[in-house]
Amino acid sequence: MDLDLPDDALELRKVVRDFAVQEVAPVAEELDRTKAFPYELVAKMGELGWMGIPFPEEVGGAGGTTLQYAVAVEELTRIDSSVAITMCAHTSLGTQPIWLFGDDAQKAEYLPDLCAGKKLGAFGLTEPEAGSDAGALKTRASLDGGTWTIDGSKQFITNAGTDISGHVAITAITGETTDAKGRTRPEISNLIVPNGTPGYEIGEPYRKMGWNASDTRPLSFSGAEVPEAHLLGPRGQGFKQFMRILDGGRIGVAAMGLGLAQGALDEAAAYAKSRNAFGGPIARFGQIQAKIADMATEIEAARLLVYRAAALKDAGRDFSLTAAQAKLKTGRLAVKASEEAVQIHGGYGYIEEYPVCRFYRDAKILTIGEGTDEVQQMVISRAVLA
């Protein structure tokens, strides 16, 4: 059993680490404070192939693996979550649906610019009253004369409103269908809506607790029209499709939880060694040592779970359960580890003097986004109790 990362993933880790320390860390505080989208960093990451890691070279991707993608997300989040979620959501939610379900023409039109990071893609599932509960979706699309007309709204959508956002793939009710038990169900399909489509309005950014430099907005559709060919995947397959997208997306978000926890530990350990109290560094106190030891141990366990989920996906095996477990484990860990890191920093942890304050704010969404912890528990318990 080989639990070491392959050479190329190890080398990528070093390079992303160097990039994060040299290019991201010096601007992270300012980006967060000014809520400025990291355009320059996205462009640089695009040149390095990091905006399309797990997609084949034929469509403009780097031809890499999910494991490499997870390692890159981890190392970015270790320094800054806003930059990491921009790359992570773009890959898992923006580009993945086109790669998985797009026809040849859609792939040829969208994937090269998406994989190069020249355009950003977004995924619109969540609505004011529906998210993981997809049965409650209200956004509707009707087909008439070769044109889809869309009405409804989406919220908490990442990467839809930047200067380089190219499209959003949304879920919408496109009719009614009958399930195996003869019950009438909404027919859900996915549609590609390009930015600039009349009737597609992108709302003002939210005032968030964290992830301040990432783009998150509500979207609304009032008679927005797209050609029939913008249907993504077969009509009526929207539910299955987004479940598959979310499964894969959980690996990315789990890698974020892992990276954030590691970043919090890095900061906490460095501070504990340099901060003096009662005549010496606070790292000599058993209470601090216990926190550091527990964080390091939980992080190592979580790392194995995240990499396992990624490796299963790369091997073409069923990864849904492991991805949900990795997401549940790392979201909680990110919250706990960043809290402990703030605690170790004392009063300095509560002000924006050190990165741990930002880490603490950035962590909470990881128990919510890409399916809440409670939804992960549903996924996991269904598999265990089946």
């Binding site: 390079v15 990039f19 390095l48 890691i53």
Partner: protein, 264 residues
């Protein structure tokens, strides 16, 4: 057409605590290893000469002398943009001093007959700063160190080099050996494709015999510099602390202190 050889080295990662193994008198190089960060500036300089068209470069070749693990440093070098690499590895090389290493590298360079040899200013482990100069000596080529600016005019390079007192501007005609200071450029990051493609670029592995290098001039057999011991530098006497309670008084104390030592 111009060929550039870049000298590279595998060194312990910056985070690894470095110490001399007293039983062998050699640096303990165990633990995580990486491409010598100073060498990435030499690779970047070669690529910039190629990409800018300043020199009509058709090939950049990374060359190293080191143990089998040094292959990873060569992979890194080609992921950064070198076209191929050469690895001289042989048990008889173990324990080579700077002159022995310079001799072996010079022999490898003769096989390639490049127009320009670039090196980093120092290795992050041995830190001799001298390998580039030793190579130039063996080749009988001009050697320049700490170069932070390169301007090309045909076969003539105008180089700005850092000196203790400022900057020297030196003209040199190719072929030449130039070690570049780390201020010369900002090395690029390798793309993911380049990282994954590194193992596909040609890597030639040579023994001393393959390269027709005289084994008596390298390794333990050929070394003239031998580590015999080390000691901490003598501790400095504790300084005198003057607390600034009354500034007029503090100034008086400082002036008196300087006056006692005939410094003013």
């Amino acid at each position: 057409m111009t060929k550039i050889v870049v000298l590279v080295k595998e060194v312990p990662d910056a985070a690894v605590q470095k110490q001399v193994d007293s039983s062998t008198g050699r640096l303990d190089r165990s633990g995580e290893k990486t491409l010598n960060p100073f060498d990435t500036h030499a690779i970047e300089a070669a690529l910039q000469l190629k990409e800018s068209g300043a020199l009509d470069v058709d090939e950049v070749v990374a060359v190293t002398v080191g143990p089998s693990s040094a292959v990873k440093a060569l992979h890194k070098a080609v992921s950064l943009g070198a076209d191929r690499s050469i690895h001289l590895t042989d048990d008889a090389l173990v324990g080579s001093d700077v002159v022995g290493t310079g001799y072996a590298l010079a022999e490898l360079i003769k096989r390639e007959s490049p127009d320009l040899v670039l090196a980093g200013q120092q290795s992050d482990d041995g830190q001799s700063y001298a390998v580039g100069a030793a190579v130039a000596e063996y080749l009988g080529w001009p050697g320049l160190t700490q170069v932070i600016k390169l301007d090309v005019d045909g076969q003539t390079l105008t180089c700005e080099r850092q000196a203790e007192y400022g900057y020297d501007t030196v003209k040199v005609t190719l072929p030449a050996v130039i070690s570049v200071g780390d201020a010369i450029n900002e090395p690029r990051y390798p793309s993911l494709k380049a990282i994954m493609g590194a193992k596909k670029k040609p890597l030639e592995s040579l023994s001393l015999g393959d390269a027709e290098i005289d084994a008596s001039k390298v390794g333990e057999a050929g070394r003239k510099a031998v580590w015999t011991g080390s000691q901490e530098p003598p501790a400095k006497a504790a300084g005198e602390l003057i607390e600034d309670e009354d500034t007029a008084e503090t100034v008086e104390k400082i002036v008196a202190w300087l006056d006692d030592r005939k410094l003013i």
